[in-house]
């Protein structure tokens, strides 16, 4: 089904804060999940008689389990600091896409049912009854938030709209209004092992084909092993890396790095997905179930290290949550954690990002690179939102900005940053994160990309940038689709390991480990 027609925003010289235009994005409605999808997830597929009680009960349940939700719903003073920070507001001018207004959709209901002031004086404090219309607004506007956390950087109390969006989607799921895109994928990853639903044999075929391609291209038999026991590294990467362009170029890059460094490694058909869409609904149990597949694969294959490919939300879940959810990490003495800890090599962080790994190998001289192989490229770097604001690399705060740039500068000679207020912790989301990477939300995606595209356009004009590197499968897929709408070539987006792939020397003499 084609999404409704809409105008592509015009790229201005700078990112402008628009005047508000009420309701201009109210028509947006992501396809709801059908019965089989909801059934598998254990959610109802339609509103029952008791939907209101269920919604309020679920809200109460979440308020008791998540301090973030409780504090964030109480603490906002409506100061307005966040109102011009969301890329969806900047791109659409719909005021309900201002972070505070998005939060207020839930805060109004919270105040009405859970606070004294809202029970006594609803009008005064902006408290509202939960109605069918409220649910529709939630469904619309909680699917116009990519949970990118940009607002949380600028909020004086650190209120993170992502936490509220997640709670909103979770409540919607519990009353029977799920989103088709995310919930379908959560089904696939749990039934088959990855978000694309590629079964093991298809995966093996693909990897074999890639091995042949690499050998034809380079003359070197670089392998892409799968389900090999007793190797050093388990690589967990987004399944888009197996099939999509430009993602697959980075997969080839990882394989070349392992080959050049002489590190034995494997993929897993059971855990052939780094992405964890459980994050998008904020459902702890779902997120844990999806993450458990990686723990299980690591135990089964007996690996010493777990490395994560280029994937933004995946890296957030891996870096920030895996230790909590599945014990992949250190610092705990419970039997559950110890089982895996004693298997893992304590000389390395667990999990480790592929950029940390490659950058270290180059620093230690274990692999050689030739940046002139990328001399046709003028490169900029898009900080993916969840890497930038919800994770880290290396051992110092901000390593998630430094290490990818360090690595890029090692493999290319021409690099230019985009404007400071659009990168690092202030980076703009690609517009497709957090469960919005679906064609039925194309209008939101295109308009939400406007701030990033504006910043990109500036470096294209000023420095002749022709390639934007990024380390997120969603960013890559989103930009490939959206950049052409703004008149850019889709091939100007790709992973850092796509650049590494060209620069790494495969015949370089290896030093012993």
């Amino acid at each position: 089904m084609a999404a409704a027609e809409f105008d592509i925003p015009e790229i201005k010289e700078t990112i402008e804060v628009p005047k508000i235009h009420e309701g201009v994005m109210a028509h947006v409605k992501s396809f709801p999940a059908p019965k089989p999808v909801q059934d598998f997830m254990g959610y109802p597929h339609e509103l029952g008689e008791d939907w209101k009680e269920r919604a309020i009960d679920k809200m109460g349940d979440l308020l008791g389990k998540y301090r973030s939700l409780k504090v964030f719903l109480d603490a906002c003073v409506h100061c307005g600091a966040c109102t011009d920070k969301c890329h969806y507001y900047l791109g659409t001018s719909d005021p309900k896409n201002m972070p505070v207004a998005r939060q207020d959709l839930m805060r109004q209901v919270y105040r009405r049912y859970f606070t004294t002031a809202g029970k006594l004086f609803p009008k005064l404090v902006g408290a509202k009854d939960l109605t069918r219309e409220t649910l529709d607004e939630w469904y619309s506007y909680y699917h116009q938030c990519s949970e990118c956390r940009r607002c949380s950087v600028f909020c004086p109390y650190g209120i993170d709209t992502a936490e509220i969006t997640m709670a909103g989607r979770e409540i919607l799921n519990h009353v029977g209004i799920g989103q088709k895109y995310s919930n379908e994928i959560l089904g696939k990853v749990q039934k088959i092992g990855n978000n694309l639903g590629l079964p093991g044999p298809a995966l093996e075929d693909t990897l074999q084909g890639l091995e042949e391609d690499i050998e034809m291209d380079t003359g070197v038999p670089v392998k892409l092993p799968i389900d090999v026991k007793g190797v050093e590294v388990l690589l967990v990467t987004p399944s888009a890396d197996f099939f999509s362009e430009p993602h697959v170029e980075s997969l080839i890059g990882y394989a070349k790095v392992f080959h050049a460094a002489g590190i034995s490694w494997t993929l897993s058909s059971h855990a052939s997905e780094a992405g964890n869409f459980g994050l998008f609904n904020g459902n702890y149990e779902t997120m844990r179930k999806v993450a458990m597949r990686i723990r299980d694969a690591a135990l089964e294959l007996g690996v010493k290290r777990i490395v994560v490919g280029e994937c933004g939300h995946a890296w957030r879940v891996a870096y920030s949550f895996w230790n909590t959810l599945t014990g992949i990490g250190y610092g705990a003495d419970d039997p559950f954690s110890i089982e895996l800890q004693k298997q893992l090599d304590h000389n390395y962080p667990q999990p480790q990002h592929i950029c940390e790994l490659t950058n270290d190998l180059i620093n230690q001289g274990k692999i050689q690179v030739d940046p002139s192989a990328n001399d046709d490229m003028v490169v900029t770097y898009h900080d993916s939102c969840n890497v930038a604001r919800a994770s880290r690399m290396g051992d110092m705060p901000g390593g998630q900005f430094i290490i990818p740039r360090d690595l890029i500068k090692k493999v290319v000679n021409n690099f230019h940053n985009m404007a400071d207020d659009t990168i690092y912790e202030s980076t703009f989301c690609c517009g497709g994160g957090g469960g919005l990477l679906t064609d039925d939300l194309m209008e939101v995606r295109v308009k939400g990309a406007l701030p990033r595209v504006t910043a990109l356009n500036t470096v294209v004009q000023e420095h002749g940038v022709n390639f934007m590197a990024t380390i997120c499968a969603i960013c890559k897929a989103q930009f490939t689709k959206v950049l052409p709408k703004y008149g850019f070539d889709m091939s100007m987006v790709g992973g850092i390991h796509q650049l590494v792939s060209k620069a790494v020397k495969l015949d370089a003499p290896k030093q012993a480990d």
């Binding site: 998540y66 301090r67 964030f72 005064l124 920030s320 250190y330 705990a332 705060p397």
Partner: protein, 239 residues
Amino acid sequence: MIFAGMFYIATLLLVVGLVYKIFDYSRTPAPLKIPTTPAPTTQKGVVYRMAKEVVLFESLFKSNKWIWVFGWLFHFGMLLVLVRHLRYFVTPVPEWLVFIQPFGKYASIMMVVGLGGLLARRFLVDRVRYISTPSDYLMLVLLLGIGLSGMMTTFVVHTDIVALKEFFMGLMFFDIQPVPEDPIILAHLTMVALLMLIFPISKLLHAPGLFFSPTRNQADNPREHRHVAAWAARLDRNN
């Protein structure tokens, strides 16, 4: 005495309400590590980050210089004014409190200018106007009322502050004394009591809330330390 009763009730509700809220926040688990990164990797670093938020409003400074200027003027003006008011509650007044009196006096101007700026933004900026509820305006009006009536008693019509101090010292030692019969001070006191009443049930909870905000008070060390909430740890046992 109506005013004495009013202050006892207001104080009781403020204290009970705040203690309950703080207890409620602290017993609610934060099951996942969600600091907004880059974040400090140690607890000491977290204290430093939080101190910058509390004292300098660091995030707000990054965000919007106008809100920052008005917000900071208001809060730190009010802090000085509040410290100045301690003289009504201690006898004898210590040296440092005597020293601070003139600062507290003129800080009221900072406070009122800050509040005025914040109120003006609610009318002038379309985005802020859109999100403002009646209580948002009234809260600023109430604080402005408190500030302006207080300034009146200092700069325009002097109140009998000796009698006022007797009233408050009396309250503290349960020896009720008459409140000065001056309409401005009575208005001032009424508004202050009202503010105390609504504090624990309103957005004024941003004050304790900030200290419990997981995006600001968590250390960024998830790979090194396993963080598990009690309700989540139970899931491990079923494996």
